[in-house]
C-alpha cells in the first residue's frame, strides 16, 4: 500500500461574537485515510488540533442538508465530499455565502429557510372536504405522486442560494429553493392555490422575473433537482397569468 497523503486544509476562521477577532484563513494538515470525507477530516481536526473549530453536520450521509460549505470555490455538501477527489491534496473551506455567519464554517440556513417558508406559505393548502382520516384516502395519479417526490427531494442545504448571482445582488430574491417549492405545490392536485395566487408571490423581481438564468443553482444542486426546467416552467406560467399578458 502506498504511503498516505497529507491533505492541506486552508479554513476560514472567524468568531463574529468576539469583538477582537478578525476573519482569517488558517492552515491545517491531516493524514489521509481511505474513504476520508471532509466530514471525517474536520472532526479529526477538531478532536486533535483545534477544539474551537465550528461546523455543522447532522446525518453525515448527504440527506439532511446541514453541512453545505464552499469547497475549493464550489458550494456543496461536505459530508459526502471525498478528499480523494482533490489530486493536489489542497482543500480550501469557506462558509456558505448569503447566510448569517454563526462562526467559522457554520451558517444559519435554518433561520433563512423558515422565513422563506413563512413568506411564501410553503405548505399544502388543501380544501378541507374529504379529509376524514378514518375513511379511504383520495386517490392520486401514481405519476403525479412520483413527480411530486422528484421536486420534493430538496434538502434546504442552501447551495442554490449561495450559487445564485441574482441572490447576491438582491437580498429579497426567493432563490431556486423558493421557486422549486412553489413549483412543487403548483403541481400538487391537492393544493387549492391557483396560478394567480402564486403570481402574487413570485410573479415579480423577487421571483421568476428576477432570475438572470445563470443557473448556478442547476450546476451546484447536490440533489440534481431540475431547477432550469422548473424556473422556465414557472416563468412561462406566470407570464401567462400576468394581468398585463406578457405572452
Amino acid at each position: 500500500m502506498s504511503q498516505a497523503r497529507t491533505i492541506r486544509f486552508s479554513i476560514f476562521r472567524f468568531d463574529p461574537q468576539d469583538p477582537n477577532d478578525k476573519p482569517k484563513m488558517v492552515n491545517y494538515e491531516v493524514t489521509e485515510a481511505p474513504g476520508m470525507t471532509v466530514f471525517i477530516a474536520l472532526n479529526m481536526l477538531r478532536e486533535q488540533q483545534d477544539p474551537s473549530l465550528q461546523f455543522d453536520f447532522v446525518c453525515r450521509a448527504g440527506i439532511c442538508g446541514s453541512c453545505a460549505m464552499v469547497i475549493n470555490g464550489k458550494p456543496t455538501l461536505a459530508c459526502r465530499t471525498l478528499t480523494a477527489n482533490y489530486p493536489k491534496g489542497e482543500i480550501i473551506l469557506m462558509p456558505l455565502p448569503g447566510f448569517e455567519l454563526i462562526g467559522d464554517l457554520s451558517v444559519n440556513t435554518g433561520k433563512f429557510m423558515r422565513e422563506l417558508a413563512e413568506r411564501l406559505q410553503l405548505w399544502l393548502q388543501p380544501n378541507s372536504i374529504d379529509n376524514d382520516i378514518h375513511r379511504m384516502e383520495q386517490p392520486m395519479d401514481p405519476d403525479e405522486a412520483a413527480k411530486l417526490y422528484e421536486l420534493e427531494r430538496c434538502v434546504e442545504c442552501g447551495v442554490c442560494v449561495s450559487a445564485c448571482a441574482t441572490k447576491q445582488m438582491r437580498d429579497t430574491f426567493v432563490g431556486a429553493v423558493g421557486m422549486m417549492k412553489i413549483a412543487r405545490f403548483e403541481l400538487d392536485s391537492r393544493d387549492t392555490r391557483t396560478a394567480d395566487d402564486f403570481y402574487h408571490v413570485i410573479g415579480n423581481q423577487d421571483g421568476v422575473f428576477g432570475c438572470m438564468t445563470l443557473l448556478g443553482c442547476q450546476d451546484a444542486c447536490p440533489k440534481d433537482l431540475p431547477h432550469m426546467t422548473q424556473i422556465a416552467y414557472l416563468r412561462r406560467k406566470m407570464a401567462l397569468t400576468s394581468p398585463n399578458r406578457i405572452l
Partner: protein
C-alpha cells in the same frame, strides 16, 4: 437568566416532537419547540423505507388489518412490548398515513394492472385491482405477514418530516433552533420545564411549561459506528435519568440493522431486501435460506443481523481493511427500479463507495441502528414518576417495540405516537396550571451554571473527546450483537471508571459561547450514564430476547424474565444506575407468549401462559357466533384511545365487498 413561559414545551423537532406540538397548538395551547438544529434536519429525515400501516390497498396487502399488524409487532418484539400500546398503535397507523396525505406527503401510489416484482429472487407478476388505482401503495419489509410499509420512493422520512414541519410552520409554532436542553426542572413529583443552553451565544434560559415532552430520538451515538445522525446521543434519556426520579425502560434493547455500508455505517434501507435484494457471502453464495428457510432475507432484523454475524464468524465474510463484511445484492431489481424507488441508496453508493448498485454489490455489515429503550412512559406517554413529563418516539419506551422493532414501525411510531400522545399532552395542558417556582428554577439554573464554570475555569485534565471515543469503543466491543456476562461486566467496570474520570474534564477552548469542546464535555458526562444503563441492563438480563442475545443464556426465559428493565439514577454522584423490574402480565395479554418462528423454539415458558390461553378460548366461546373481530378483540384486551381516534378504519376490502353487494342486489332485480 431569562425565563420563557409556555403551555406545551417540546424538546426535539423531529417527527414525533413536531406532531405533539401540532396537536397542542390545534387545541389552542401556547406551544414551543426546542431543537439542536433546524427542524427539517432532524434524524427523522433519514428514514428511507417507509412506515407500516395496514391499509391493504396493494394486492399483496389484501387481508391486512389492525389484528395482523398487532400480531406482527408483538411477535417482532419477542413478547417484550406493552400489548395495549401495540394495539393503540396498530389502530391509529392507517389514520396517520391518511392524515399525512392531507398534509402533503406524496405517498407512492398503486398503479392498476400487471406489474413485475421480485420475490425470493424470482420475477413474479402481480395484478393490482382497478379499484386500487391511485390509492397508497405498500412494500414488503422484514417480519411482516403482509406488504404493509407505505412509502415515498426511498425518501419517506424526508417527505414526512417536510410535510409535518410545513404544517407546524403554517400553525405558527416557534422552533427555538440551536438550543440544547441540559436539565429538567422538577420538584420530585412534577416536571416544570427545562434549562437549556444556546449553542450560538452560550446563554442559559429556563423554559417553564405545564407539560414537557422529550422527543430527542435514540442513543445510537454511544456506539462508535452507528447508522444514527451524530446528534442521536441520548441526551434526552440522560435528562430524565438525571432527575433521579424518572425511569428509563429496557435500555439494553438495542437494534443492529443488517445492512449499513462498510466502513462508515450509513444505512441502506430494508426496502432493498423488501423489494427483492439478496445477501451474499464472500463466495457470492446466498446464505440466508440455509439459516431461515421460510423468511430468508426478510426475517426480523435481530435475526438477520445475528445470522450474518454467525456466517462471518464461520469465515464466510469478505475481508477488508475495516474487518469482514457481506454483500447486499440489488442488481437483480434492475436499473429503473433502483433509480426510482431506491435512489437515495444509489446516491449513497455513488458518493461514499464509488459504486453503481445497479451493477455492483454493496458491502454491508450489521450496525447499531435503533434504541428500543428510552424514557419509560405510560400508554398516555407520561412518565409514571414525574407528572407533566412526557416522551414520544425513539426517545421513549412507550413500549410498542419490546426487544426488537420491526422495520417500518419506527417512522410509524413517530407520527402515530405523536398523534395519540399529542392529544394526551393537550389534555394535560387544559387540565393543569402553570407552576412557577422561581427558587426552584434558579436552583437548577445554578447547577448548570456551576457545571459550566467548573469546566471552563477549572483545572481538569481529561479530554472530552478521548472519553467519548473510549466509551464508544467499549460499547462496540462488549455490548454488541452477541453478549456475554464476562464482557458485559468488563463494560460496566470500564464505563464506571470513565464516568469517574469525566468529573475531571478540562477544556482547551475557554469560550462560553459557541464552543464545540464545551458542548462535547457537557454531553459526554450524560452519555456515559446512558451507556451505563445499557451495559448494566444487559449484564443483569440473563436470557436472550429479541435483539438482546446472550451467548451464555441463549434461551428466552419467560418464567424469570418476562419483564421490563427500569433504570434510574438516584445518587447523582453514583457510578452505576439502580435497576428494578416491571413484570409483564401474561393474564392481561391478547397474545400470550409463543414461538416467534425463527430457529429452535427453546423458550422457557411462563406458568401463566397456558392458563391465559385457556381463558382467551373461553372468553371467545362465550361470544355470539357472529361476533366481529372488533368485538372479539375488545373482549380479550380492551384498550383506550382519545375519542377522536376511536372510529374503525375503512379499507378497500370494505368498499369492494359493498360494491359486490350492490352488484348482487342489482342482479336480483
Amino acid at each position: 437568566m431569562q425565563i420563557i413561559y409556555t403551555d406545551t414545551l417540546v424538546v426535539g423537532a423531529g417527527l414525533a416532537g413536531l406532531r405533539v406540538a401540532i396537536a397542542s397548538k390545534e387545541r389552542g395551547l401556547d406551544t414551543l419547540v426546542l431543537s439542536l438544529i433546524p427542524a427539517k434536519r432532524s434524524h427523522s429525515a433519514a428514514a428511507q423505507g417507509g412506515m407500516q400501516a395496514s391499509l391493504g390497498n396493494t394486492v399483496k396487502g389484501m387481508g391486512d388489518d389492525e389484528d395482523v399488524h398487532f400480531q406482527d409487532t408483538v411477535k417482532g418484539s419477542d413478547w417484550g412490548c406493552d400489548q395495549t400500546v401495540a394495539r393503540m398503535f396498530a389502530h391509529c397507523a392507517p389514520k396517520a398515513v391518511r392524515e399525512l396525505a392531507n398534509w402533503g406527503v406524496p405517498w407512492t401510489r398503486v398503479t392498476k394492472g400487471d406489474r413485475q416484482v421480485i420475490v425470493n429472487a424470482e420475477k413474479v407478476t402481480i395484478h393490482e385491482a382497478e379499484e386500487a388505482h391511485g390509492l397508497i401503495n405498500a412494500r414488503d419489509f422484514g417480519g411482516t405477514k403482509k406488504w404493509r410499509t407505505c412509502y415515498t420512493a426511498d425518501g419517506t422520512g424526508h417527505s414526512l418530516l417536510y410535510a409535518v414541519d410545513n404544517k407546524a410552520i403554517s400553525l405558527g409554532i416557534p422552533v427555538h433552533e440551536r438550543m440544547e436542553a441540559l436539565k429538567i426542572i422538577h420538584d420530585g413529583k412534577r416536571c416544570h420545564g427545562v434549562i437549556a443552553r444556546c449553542l450560538i451565544t452560550g446563554e442559559l434560559r429556563a423554559y417553564i411549561a405545564k407539560s414537557t415532552t422529550i422527543a430527542t430520538g435514540g442513543y445510537g451515538r454511544i456506539y462508535e459506528v452507528s447508522t444514527n445522525a451524530i446528534i442521536c446521543d441520548g441526551i434526552g434519556q440522560a435528562l430524565a435519568l438525571e432527575t433521579g426520579v424518572a425511569t428509563l425502560g429496557n435500555m439494553e434493547a438495542v437494534q443492529f440493522h443488517p445492512t449499513a455500508i462498510v466502513p462508515v455505517g450509513i444505512l441502506t434501507t430494508e426496502g432493498c431486501r423488501g423489494d427483492g435484494g439478496l445477501l451474499r457471502d464472500k463466495d457470492g453464495y446466498r446464505f440466508m435460506p440455509d439459516y431461515e428457510p421460510e423468511k430468508k432475507e426478510l426475517a426480523s432484523r435481530d435475526v438477520v443481523s445475528r445470522r450474518m454475524t454467525e456466517h462471518m464468524r464461520k469465515g464466510k465474510g469478505v475481508d477488508s481493511p475495516y474487518g469482514p463484511h457481506l454483500w447486499l445484492d440489488i442488481t437483480l431489481l434492475g436499473r429503473k427500479h433502483i433509480e426510482t424507488n431506491l435512489r437515495e441508496v444509489k446516491e449513497i453508493c455513488e458518493n461514499f463507495l464509488g459504486i453503481d448498485p445497479a451493477k455492483d454489490w454493496i458491502p454491508v455489515r450489521p450496525t447499531q441502528h435503533y434504541s428500543m429503550g428510552g424514557i419509560r412512559t405510560t400508554p398516555t406517554g407520561e412518565s409514571p414518576q414525574l407528572s407533566g413529563l412526557f416522551s414520544v418516539g425513539e426517545a421513549a419506551c412507550w413500549d410498542m417495540h419490546g426487544f426488537n422493532r420491526l422495520g417500518g414501525n419506527s417512522l410509524a411510531e413517530t407520527v402515530v405516537g405523536g398523534m395519540i400522545i399529542g392529544k394526551y399532552v393537550a389534555d394535560f395542558g387544559e387540565q393543569h396550571d402553570l407552576v412557577v417556582d422561581t427558587a426552584l428554577i434558579n436552583r437548577f439554573g445554578k447547577d448548570l451554571r456551576d457545571e459550566i464554570d467548573q469546566l471552563v475555569d477549572g483545572d481538569g485534565s481529561e479530554s472530552a473527546f478521548e472519553l467519548k471515543l473510549s466509551m464508544q469503543k467499549i460499547m462496540m466491543d462488549y455490548v454488541g450483537i452477541f453478549r456475554n456476562g464476562r464482557e458485559l461486566q468488563q463494560a460496566v467496570d470500564e464505563l464506571s471508571a470513565l464516568l469517574k474520570r469525566a468529573s475531571n474534564i478540562g477544556l482547551k477552548c475557554k469560550k462560553r459561547h459557541a464552543n464545540p469542546e464545551l458542548v462535547e464535555a457537557l454531553r459526554i458526562r450524560r452519555m456515559l450514564k446512558v451507556a451505563l444503563t445499557v451495559a448494566c441492563g444487559a449484564n443483569a438480563r440473563t436470557e436472550s430476547r429479541g435483539a438482546h442475545s446472550r451467548e451464555d443464556f441463549p434461551q428466552r426465559n419467560d418464567k424469570d424474565w418476562l419483564n421490563r428493565t427500569l433504570s434510574s439514577w438516584p445518587d447523582a454522584n453514583g457510578l452505576t444506575p439502580t435497576l428494578s423490574y416491571e413484570a409483564l402480565d401474561v393474564m392481561a395479554m391478547e397474545l400470550p407468549p409463543g414461538y416467534r418462528g425463527y430457529g429452535v423454539n427453546n423458550a422457557i415458558a411462563h406458568p401463566d401462559t397456558e392458563k391465559r390461553e385457556q381463558q382467551i378460548a373461553s372468553i371467545l366461546a362465550q361470544l355470539d357466533a357472529d361476533a366481529d373481530r372488533y368485538t372479539k378483540q375488545a373482549a380479550i384486551m380492551p384498550f383506550a384511545l382519545p375519542d377522536a381516534l376511536l372510529p374503525n378504519n375503512e379499507r378497500l376490502s370494505d368498499t369492494l365487498s359493498s360494491a359486490v353487494k350492490t352488484a348482487n342486489v342489482a342482479g336480483e332485480k
